[in-house]
Symmetry: C2
Subunit: 206 residues, 2 copies
C-alpha cells in the first residue's frame, strides 16, 4: 500500500461502560496501534520511565503548553495536570502509525475541538437495547422505572452526537471486532487514499 | 441491536479489475447480503425465473419506468434494456436487509446521482501500487513506459472521485475482508444508529 499518515482514534463513552477492557483487548490483538502517552505534572514513581509511562513536566511547563495550545485535552485531578500532548500525537501520525486514545467523554469533546480530523468512537452501554426489549415486552416493568431509564438513556444518546461511530459493548469480543473494522475501513476511505495516489502523480508528472 | 434500515452498497471499478470475483467470494461468505436483481427487456431464457434471475419487462413498460425515474441506473445493450429497479432496492432496504450491487463505473455514477445515500466502493487495480514501487526502484523501466502508465493511472484515479472507499484488489481474500469491514463499520456510523435510538425515545416519551 502507498505510504499514508496515521489516524488518531478516540474511544470514549459513559463511565463504567468498559472502555479500558475493550482497549486492553484491542492492544493484545493489534500490534500496529500506538497508545497515546499522556503528559502529567505528578511526581514520577519508582519504576516509571519518562516518555513511556508519561511525559513528566513541571507545573510551569504544563501551563505554558496549555497557553500554546499544545494539549489536545487536559484536566486537573488532585492538584496535578494530566493531558494529551499534541506534538507526540502528530509526530506519531506523521510516521504513518495510528494513535489510539481511550478517554472520558469530557476529554473526548476537548480533543474533538482541537483535532476534529480524529475518528471518534462512542462505546455504548447495552442497556438501551435491553430497554427496548423491555418496552416490547410491556407490563413486566413499572412505568416509573421505564421512564427513569428513558431519561438516563436520553442523556447518553445526546452525548454520542459528537462521535463518528457507536459501538454497543454487549460483549467484549464483539466490541473489539467492531472497533477493528472501523480502524480498517477508515484507512480505505477515498478522501485519504486518493490524496496519496494523486501525490504520486504530481511528484512524477510535474 | 435496534432495528435499522438496510444499506445499499455499490462495488465498481475499471473493467477487468475483478469485481465479479470479489462479489462472488463475498456472497459465499456473507449470507445476509441481498444481491440486487436487475430489470431487463430481453427474452426470458429456459430455466430463468422472473424476480429471481431478472425482472422481465416489455420495452414499453421499461421506458415508462425510466420516465417515472424508477430506475437507479440503466443502459441499452444489443437492443435490450438492463437496469436496477428502485422499488425492489427500497423495499429490500426497508426490511432491514443490505443490498449489494456490482456494476460498471458508468452505471455506478448514475446510481450515485439517483441514490446518493448508497455506499460506493471503488475496486482499484493494484498496478498503481506496482507503479510506485517501479518509480522507487528507478532505472528498471524506460521513462516512456512509466509516463504512459502514469497517464492511465490518472484516469483511474479521477474515476474514483465519486466513491466513498477505495479497495486495492491485490488479493481476493484481502479485498473481500476489506469490503466486509466497510459493511460492518457503515452499520456503526453514529448518524445511522443515533437516529434509531432517538426514535425509541420519541415513540415512548411523547
Amino acid at each position: 500500500m502507498v505510504a499514508e499518515k496515521g489516524i488518531l482514534f478516540i474511544l470514549s463513552g459513559p463511565s463504567g461502560v468498559g472502555k479500558g477492557t475493550v482497549r486492553k483487548r484491542l492492544f493484545e490483538e493489534s500490534t500496529e496501534l500506538q497508545y497515546s502517552i499522556s503528559m502529567t505534572t505528578r511526581q514520577k514513581r519508582p519504576g516509571e520511565v519518562d516518555g513511556v509511562d508519561y511525559f513528566y513536566k513541571s507545573n510551569e511547563e504544563f501551563e505554558r503548553l496549555i497557553e500554546q495550545e499544545q494539549l489536545l485535552e487536559y484536566a486537573k485531578y488532585v492538584n496535578n495536570y494530566y493531558g494529551t500532548p499534541r506534538e507526540y500525537v502528530e509526530e506519531t501520525l506523521e510516521k504513518g502509525l495510528d494513535v489510539f486514545l481511550e478517554i472520558e467523554v469530557q476529554g473526548a469533546l476537548q480533543v474533538k475541538e482541537n483535532f476534529p480530523q480524529g475518528v471518534f468512537i462512542f462505546l455504548f452501554p447495552p442497556s438501551l437495547v435491553e430497554l427496548k426489549n423491555r418496552i416490547v415486552n410491556r407490563g413486566t416493568e413499572s412505568q416509573e422505572l421505564v421512564l427513569n431509564r428513558l431519561k438516563e438513556a436520553r442523556k447518553e444518546i445526546e452525548m454520542m452526537d459528537a462521535y463518528d461511530y457507536v459501538v454497543v459493548n454487549d460483549d467484549v469480543d464483539h466490541a473489539v471486532a467492531k472497533v477493528k473494522s472501523i480502524i480498517q475501513s477508515e484507512h480505505l476511505k477515498r478522501v485519504r487514499v486518493a490524496k496519496q495516489y494523486k501525490k504520486i502523480l504530481e511528484d512524477e508528472i510535474h
